[in-house]
Each structure stands twice: as structure tokens, then as C-alpha cells.
Symmetry: C2
Subunit: 190 residues, 2 copies
């Protein structure tokens, strides 16, 4: 689907499309009702050009949505959540998701922006995480008093907090991630 020849794009088009999507995530993660002019400016692109790529605001949103879905799926895949001890896999997952950066904020902060049908259906990464937690409980390495859904909540909440911490408090991202990992591990360990 990604390489659908029907929508194949030249190098330049793909590049500006990326610039727009990245800028949109960056801007909207801080100011969810920013005007399209602000997004265009942040992307270093004319407002007209943006409308060529995303005719309506809704199109931009679904563009962001699909992009985030791909990035989350790729991150999940890369972390190999089914491999090795559950706590180690959880660490890998946390690190992989942390790399989503501002996309984290947008995903958690403004879920109502994404009315995409794909967003509800595509819960595979979610299910992978739940399976991981179940495995940890079977292993006896994850606190059985915490429900898998709550552990999932904790993971995303701490990621959110860590990213904000790095963003606002001037703490290097690496340090924020380290604090996040340590906290998560302690919180969910049996």
C-alpha cells in the first residue's frame, strides 16, 4: 500500500509531502487548533502548495493519521514484543515508541482528531502489547495486581510524561527516556 504505483510520487513531491506531515505533527502537537497557514509556514511551504497535497484540513488529518499508524506499527515490529523476557520486551517497546516524538503527544492528546476508520480497526500494536503483558504475568515477572489494560495506560502515560519532561524541562531526551524506563520497569514488575 505504501508503494502503490497509482500514487507513486517523484522525489521532490515525496520530500515536500514529508516536510508538510512532519511540520503538521510538530505544530498540531502543541496547538491542536492551529491554522493551516501556521502549518504551511512551519513546513516552509506556501499555503497553496499545501492545498495541492491535502485539499482539505480533513485530508491532512488522515494523512497524519496514516503516517502515525505506519510509524507505530513499524516501531512495534522493530521492538519484537514476542521475543525474550517480557520486561525486556517492554523496555524495547518503550524505547521504540519514545522515538515517535511529537507524534506521541498528538496520539494521546488529541485522539478526537482522528476519526479514521483505520484507527479503531488497526489495534494490532495494542493487542501485541496486551499479549506481552499477559506473557509477563504468566512468567511471574509482571505484577498480577495490575490489569493488562492499565499497564498499557501506564506505558503511554509515562511516555507522554517523559516526552513533555524533555520538551519543557530541558532535560536531554536520552535522560528522560532512561528515567521513563526505570520508572516503568519498577512500576509494573512483580
Amino acid at each position: 500500500m505504501v508503494d502503490d504505483p497509482a500514487i507513486a510520487e517523484s522525489g521532490t513531491r515525496a520530500r515536500t509531502r514529508r516536510a508538510i506531515l512532519d511540520a503538521a505533527v510538530r505544530v498540531l502537537s502543541q496547538h491542536s487548533n492551529a491554522s493551516l497557514a501556521e502549518v504551511a509556514a512551519a513546513a516552509g511551504v506556501g499555503r497553496t502548495t499545501m492545498h495541492r497535497y491535502f485539499p482539505e484540513r480533513a485530508d491532512l488529518l488522515t494523512g497524519i493519521s496514516n503516517d502515525l499508524l505506519e510509524r507505530i506499527a513499524a516501531a512495534t515490529d522493530r521492538a519484537q514484543p514476542e521475543t525474550g523476557p517480557a520486561l525486556a520486551a517492554l523496555d524495547r517497546l518503550c524505547q521504540a515508541y519514545f522515538a515517535l516524538g511529537d507524534g506521541l503527544l498528538l496520539t494521546l492528546n488529541e485522539p478526537h482528531l482522528f476519526t479514521d476508520p483505520a484507527w479503531q480497526a488497526e489495534a494490532e500494536p495494542d493487542r501485541a502489547l496486551l499479549r506481552l503483558v499477559e506473557r509477563g504475568r504468566a512468567e511471574g515477572t509482571i505484577d498480577p495486581e495490575l490489569t493488562p489494560e492499565w499497564v498499557q495506560s501506564v506505558l503511554w502515560s509515562l511516555l507522554y510524561g517523559a516526552w513533555m519532561h524533555a520538551r519543557d524541562s530541558g532535560v536531554p531526551e536520552h535522560d528522560a527516556l532512561a528515567l521513563c524506563l526505570r520508572t516503568l520497569r519498577k512500576a509494573v514488575a512483580a
Copy 2:
């Protein structure tokens, strides 16, 4: 300041004012750029009436802001953060803040809504929490590897997560709070 005779209000006025503020928090916490008409409808009040209490949108925001500041200060005070073992005090603080409900989401999710000067200056509850963490470190009951600022981040992030968890997953608020408390305690304990 709360009972400033200059802005003393009749019973009815105070009551509708409360209804508007509560509705505004409820609506804006889910949809930060909701129209004033939506807020008025949620408050069961005409748009005209709302403009009588809060002439401009900015006035409504500062109204919410001041209300939240008061509630946070009151909650902090009620939790007596300077009393007893640090971890127990942290528990009390967490419970007290959880009662802020949707105000939590608004505070964490849309801090940019509040351009109030009072918001930056009034960091007393923040400072109380930081002192509490320092005390716990001195006691040896709080993990010295976690910076006080990060512990603060964790508290708010977990509160956010717990509230969302209760809201979206249908988990009773009491259970969500219990999970939150257990998780927080494990995460920050030495």
C-alpha cells in the same frame, strides 16, 4: 479574594456561574476548541447568558484558570503534604488531585489555554510537592535516582492516565485510583 464583597453575587448568580465553569471544564477537556455555543448548551444556559458572565472567551478561560488554581491549592492543603511519611503524603496528594476530575485533563492537556500571569507565579503546590519528594529522599524512602521534577511528572502523568482509563475503559473511578496509587508507590519507592 474569593469572598471579595466587590464581586459578591446572589445565590442564583453564583449557581449559574458554577454551572458554566463546570460545563466549560467538562466540554473543553474533551474538545479544546469547542465553540462557546457548545459550552453554553452543556451548561444548560443561553449563549447570551454566558456572555453576561464571561464577556469574552478569554474571560471564560481565566475564570476556569482561577477556579482550577483554587481547587488545586485546596486539594494540596487538604492532603497535608508536609505531614507524616513522604510516601503516605504522596498517596494523599495523589488522591486529592484525582478528585480534580476533568480539570486534570484540561490542566495537563491544554496548558497553553491559560496565559494567566497567576498560573506561572502560583507554583506553590508544585513547590510543596518538590519539598515532599526531597523529604522522601532524605528519609530514604524515595528512589534517589529519580529527580524530584521527574517524580512530579510521573505523578501527573499517572493521574492523567488513570482518569482517562476510568473515562474510556469503563473502569470505576475508585479502581482506577487504586491502580494509580499502587503504581505510583512502586514506581517512586526507594
